[in-house]
């Protein structure tokens, strides 16, 4: 049997298999589907943060040209699943996900309270303005700082003492407090909104009374299928979910949201297909966000740079109707050797919509505080922060007391330090200049669980020698289809050009949602299994029918470039296509499932990243330029260095946004956002993004899965924001602990 790296498909910077479709506009996104008889729906959002709908005057809207229906809580078709206590939804929080037009209650400003359906989008938009809603307003609480005393331990943790969100103590609780050398600082990040390029959209079509098809922007094809089947009390197989292309999501497609149900209701009511596309403003309140978070880190160390204790507390915002939680403090529990570690996580319900995971969920928030605090402590003891991290490196998971499956963080750190020119970093902040500009260097480490889930892949080998693989997974941008083709090419012994990977449909075998950096590990393993099964089938076919291969088994055969051969018998060489043709088979098909085994009880598995930033700050005007970023990742085998590099670059740009530009502002008198478009919510633009160099350790983690991969999506952003904040400190001597770091904070 040949070594895994024998064939060289995996690891190549192959162009995206769908690149041409994407750049020519041939790729079809959910809002681009046109069905006969299509209608258009526009949502009306509440303008109060809390209270009840007193009256709804829809006459004008209903009489407007082209309007087919105006639906709201009193006349909307009943959703059978809504009568149950809770309807299925990811994540599974404690509480009740918002139900579209369920009753007269208003839980947040911008909540959908009505939907207008018309024959054209313009007419629906116009009529939506004509819907007059009056409210009975109640006093709302939206201000995090003013309400912070109401934070509590999530109910899930209260109910289960073993729940990971419970307080964690290793060694002595809050041991830093009694140490000689210690720091204690607070860190704040504002609410951030995913704002992918593509707006959330759905085309809902009842093909029969109990048969629903949706073209939906989602990261969870199967999750969405199950949710709507349950909501509408119809068999799962009667719900078809299509999400062939997704124009970025960053997490907000991991949930089913009320606007989707609104479109499905509307389609039921008007008995025609309904297209509903959120506005950019609606993207701020209807599809989740990264929650505002307050954190406090206490840390103590010895003068020679050993961390002796860390206490990390976090409070994250959630809504009044659902407990959204995320893993903000995990990195603190396992990243450094500190004998004493305490973590405390709380949530604070406010009269706002429910957050959802956003790229690097929890950990990106937590790493901002932890990795800033590391830098602060290194400064206190006068040690290079890279050296400080090296001295506290963990060779074994101190939380679970398990060996790492693989960990090459030290190599990544050395690699990055060299590439950024870390030796140029001044030990004393504010002492390096380039003309008028102050220059600084900073670093931040990121980690995320190397997750893997259960996935199934179907593979069909045709008698022309091509293979089609299918799985319900989506591709929200990382190049999933491309990576899967490469993995198949590698494991099948077939040129990538002969392989097609079809995804984004509930008609294909199931996969987990595309979140948590787990797709390549989960689906890639199923592709691996399916390819091995196909090889097995081919081996059986030739062994049974071809004299030259008599008695051959898959492990004795070589599969290469669409041929299988027997090393011992040079004449025994036949193409995959001919194997089928000789047996008059049009195709052979296998479906294989792959799932993690008990290796997860024996090893602790994480991906790692380290980010280095060089920033320039103008002392007079506070202008900040990120001059360079170097990101290095230990993420197992890199299937495609181009698409993986692309993901890392995207994460770094996201990190620039987190550090310097992004954040929503709410006017708490109204409980309403006042920065809610792309002009006022500052996603970084090209001019904010410097040269970003990406390097991979690229060593397989074969304990994690047979392809040796670990996830990249999250670690691409986790640790970037503190790297930049630390660089700003190094440049200026100013420590900004509340993001984003805008010019006004530096003058």
């Amino acid at each position: 049997m040949k070594d895994y790296f024998f064939q060289d498909s995996v690891g190549k910077p192959m162009d995206r298999v769908d690149g041409r479709q994407k750049v020519t506009g041939a790729a079809k996104y959910s809002a681009e589907y046109e069905l006969p008889n299509m209608t258009h729906a526009v949502l009306v959002g509440s303008i109060i943060a809390k209270g009840r709908i007193k009256s709804m005057d829809t006459k004008k809207a209903e009489n407007a040209p082209g309007v087919l229906a105006v639906l709201y809580h009193q006349n909307a078709p009943k959703v059978p699943g809504y009568v149950q206590a809770a309807h299925p939804s990811e994540p599974k929080p404690v509480g009740q996900p918002l139900r579209a037009f369920y009753d007269d209650k208003v839980y947040f400003n911008g909540q959908p309270v009505a939907v207008v359906v018309a024959d054209t989008l313009e007419r629906a938009m116009y009529a939506a303005h004509l819907v007059k809603v009056t409210y009975e307003e109640e006093k709302h609480a939206t201000d995090f700082t003013k309400n912070v005393s109401k934070a509590f331990l999530p109910t899930a943790a209260q109910r289960n003492p073993k729940h990971p969100l419970n307080d964690y103590v290793r060694g002595k609780k809050d041991a830093y407090k009694t140490a000689d050398i210690k720091i204690e600082q607070e860190y704040v990040i504002p609410t951030e909104v995913h704002n992918p390029m593509e707006l959330q959209s759905i085309v809902a079509h009842w093909e029969a009374n109990d048969k629903l098809t949706v073209y939906d922007k989602t990261q969870a094809v199967i999750g969405t299928q199950n949710a709507f089947a349950k909501d509408w009390d119809i068999p799962v197989e009667n719900v078809k979910v299509i999400a062939t292309f997704v124009g970025g999501a960053f997490g907000n497609g991991l949930h089913t949201w009320p606007h989707e149900t609104a479109a499905i209701m509307a389609a039921k009511k008007v008995n025609r297909p309904v297209k509903l596309v959120l506005t950019r403003e609606q993207m701020f309140t209807m599809v989740g966000y990264r929650p505002h978070a307050w954190q406090k880190v206490g840390m103590s160390a010895t003068p020679d740079g050993k961390i002796t204790a860390i206490t990390h507390e976090a409070i994250g915002q959630t809504s009044s109707y659902e407990e959204f939680t995320e893993s903000t403090l995990q990195q603190t529990r396992m990243m450094y050797t500190s004998p004493n570690v305490t973590t405390r996580y709380r949530i604070l319900p406010l009269d706002v919509s429910t957050p959802i995971w956003m790229r690097g969920p929890g950990e990106a928030t937590g790493a901002f505080a932890l990795e800033s605090a590391l830098d602060e402590m290194a400064h206190v003891i006068g040690m290079d922060p890279l050296e400080f991290r090296m001295r506290n490196h963990t060779d074994r998971d101190p939380e679970k007391d398990l060996p790492w499956s693989t960990k090459y963080l030290k190599e990544a750190m050395q690699m990055g330090a060299e590439r950024i020119g870390w030796s140029k970093r001044p030990n004393i902040p504010g002492t390096l200049k380039n003309g008028e500009w102050l220059v600084g260097y900073g670093m931040g480490v990121g980690t995320f669980g190397a997750n893997r889930g259960r996935a199934k892949v179907r593979a069909v080998l045709h008698d022309d020698g091509t293979v089609v693989l299918q799985c319900a997974t989506t591709d929200i941008g990382p190049g999933t289809g491309t990576a899967m083709v490469q993995i198949a090419a590698q494991n099948l012994g077939l040129a990538p050009e002969k392989i097609i990977f079809e995804l984004g449909s509930s008609l294909y075998p199931p996969s987990p949602s595309q979140g948590g950096s787990a797709t390549v590990a989960s689906v890639g393993s199923a592709v691996h299994a399916a390819c091995k099964a196909l090889q097995q089938r081919l081996a059986t076919l030739v062994a049974d029918n071809d004299a030259g291969f008599k008695g051959a088994t898959a492990d004795k055969l070589t599969f290469d470039n669409g041929y299988l051969s027997l090393a011992a018998t040079p004449a025994a060489r036949v193409s995959f296509a001919d194997v089928l043709k000789r047996q008059k088979l049009k195709e052979i098909e296998v479906t294989e499932e792959s799932k993690p085994g008990d290796e997860r009880t024996k090893y602790s598995m994480y991906s790692y990243s380290v980010h280095f930033a060089e920033v320039h700050v103008h002392p007079l005007t506070g202008q900040i330029k990120v001059a360079k970023i170097v990101s290095c990742a230990d993420a197992g085998t890199i299937v495609n260095t181009k698409t993986a590099g692309n993901q890392m670059i995207g994460g770094a740009v996201g990190g620039i946004g987190m550090a310097l530009t992004e954040g929503t502002v709410m006017d708490h008198r109204f409980g309403r956002y006042v920065t809610k478009d792309l002009a006022e919510y500052h996603v970084p633009v090209h001019a904010d993004a410097p040269a970003i160099d990406v390097f991979f350790v690229n060593k397989p983690d074969l304990i994690n899965n047979p392809n040796g991969t670990k996830g990249i999506g999250e670690i691409a952003i986790i640790g970037v924001a503190p790297a930049i904040a630390n660089a700003v400190f190094n440049a200026t001597g100013k420590r900004i602990r509340e993001l984003p770091i805008t010019p006004d904070k530096l003058i």
């Binding site: 303008i47 040209p65 313009e122 938009m125 116009y126 303005h129 003309g435 008028e436 103008h618 007079l620 005007t621 506070g622 202008q623 330029k625 310097l660 530009t661 502002v665 006017d667 008198r669 109204f670 309403r672 006042v674 920065t675 809610k676 002009a679 006022e680 500052h682 970084p684 633009v685 090209h686 001019a687 904010d688 984003p740 805008t742 010019p743 006004d744 003058i747």
Partner: protein, 327 residues
């Protein structure tokens, strides 16, 4: 967006007549701001008079001045040879505004008329005297980080968002308009208004008056100029503070100066006192700092924009340093 009629006259007179007679009619050129406002239901014209067919696109010399047609695009104006040669400050200001895509749609006349980006103005669910007189100023005790420090009133503390107009103010531009009562010239300083009690009236244009062109008189500010824009991201963001600085230098001495600020008032804010102070002084950081302090007299900030009291003078100093080449 409400339903509206659309006409595209070929002659200025027809366009002016239509807008003069029809209370609800509005001119539209690039539409980069107007369409946004219509989509949000902030303005609801029942007739749009598209002026893009009118011959108002040229940039040419006229009696020693550079005349820029109202329909010249921001992008092409910024790159125009005559503008670059005679008024490079305008070119810099234009390129600091919006994004390349917007600059390729937006016109010079439209740019002057763009409405404030105050979030209360843009959200029909929130109070705003500019949008709906009498409802109150949402920003006064609300989120006012982007707001005015000069010339505001209790009725409105919004700022004018244009970069281009800051340069036009510094360069003593004149606006040529044509209306039902004939043609007239408006000095740029008198074109925009302060909010006072009528923040909904932003310019001194009369109903039906159409901007034909902007004249920029010959001046010596072709070399020592700088448009400095401080903003929250490197491109496509409105100014926290911007400064248009132009110097006429005699060696290391200042013969004369032109200075205007953006992001600080309801109109582009010309700094005449500071200009007068600079004339005849040496081009040093000390002089610039004194001029900046003078310029900031009378500034009054609100809860979230206090930083402008410090960023303002710093930006003036830096813009002057850059203009003088002493940075």
């Amino acid at each position: 967006m409400n339903q509206f009629q659309y006409v595209q006259p070929a002659k200025s007179k027809a366009a002016i007549d239509t807008v003069t007679k029809d209370q609800t009619a509005m001119f539209i050129a690039g539409g980069t701001n107007l369409l946004d406002l219509m989509k949000r239901g902030i303005v609801t014209p029942e007739k749009l008079v598209d002026i893009n067919k009118l011959p108002l696109k040229k940039i040419q010399k006229e009696n020693g001045a550079v005349r820029i047609g109202a329909l010249a695009l921001n992008g092409e104006t910024a790159e125009d040879k005559l503008v670059l040669e005679k008024h490079p400050l305008l070119s810099q200001a234009l390129n600091a505004g919006a994004s390349a895509q917007l600059r390729n749609m937006a016109t010079v006349g439209g740019n002057m008329l763009q409405r404030t980006r105050c979030p209360y103005f843009y959200d029909t669910a929130l109070p705003c005297n500019k949008r709906e007189p009498g409802t109150g100023c949402g920003a006064l005790e609300g989120y006012n980080r982007m707001h005015a420090i000069f010339g505001h009133s209790e009725k409105c503390i919004a700022v004018h968002p244009s970069d281009m107009s800051v340069a036009l103010a510094a360069l003593d531009a004149t606006v040529l308009v044509s209306g039902p009562k004939g043609d007239r010239k408006i000095p740029f300083a008198d074109f925009h208004r302060l909010p006072g009690d009528t923040p909904h009236i932003e310019t001194n244009l009369q109903k039906g008056e159409l901007i034909l062109a902007v004249d920029l008189p010959e001046n010596p500010y072709t070399k020592n100029i700088h448009y400095l824009k401080i903003r929250d991201r490197a491109s496509y963001a409105f100014a926290l503070i911007s400064v248009a600085a132009a110097l006429d230098l005699d060696g290391s001495n200042i013969r004369s100066a032109r200075l205007a600020m953006g992001g600080v008032a309801h109109k582009p804010w010309r700094l005449t006192e500071a200009e007068n102070f600079l004339a005849g002084k040496p081009a040093t950081e000390t002089t610039f700092r004194q001029a900046a302090d003078l310029a900031m007299r009378g500034a009054k900030a609100f809860e979230h924009n206090k930083f402008k009291l410090k960023l303002g003078p710093n930006a003036i100093v830096q813009a002057l340093k850059n203009a003088a080449g002493v940075a």
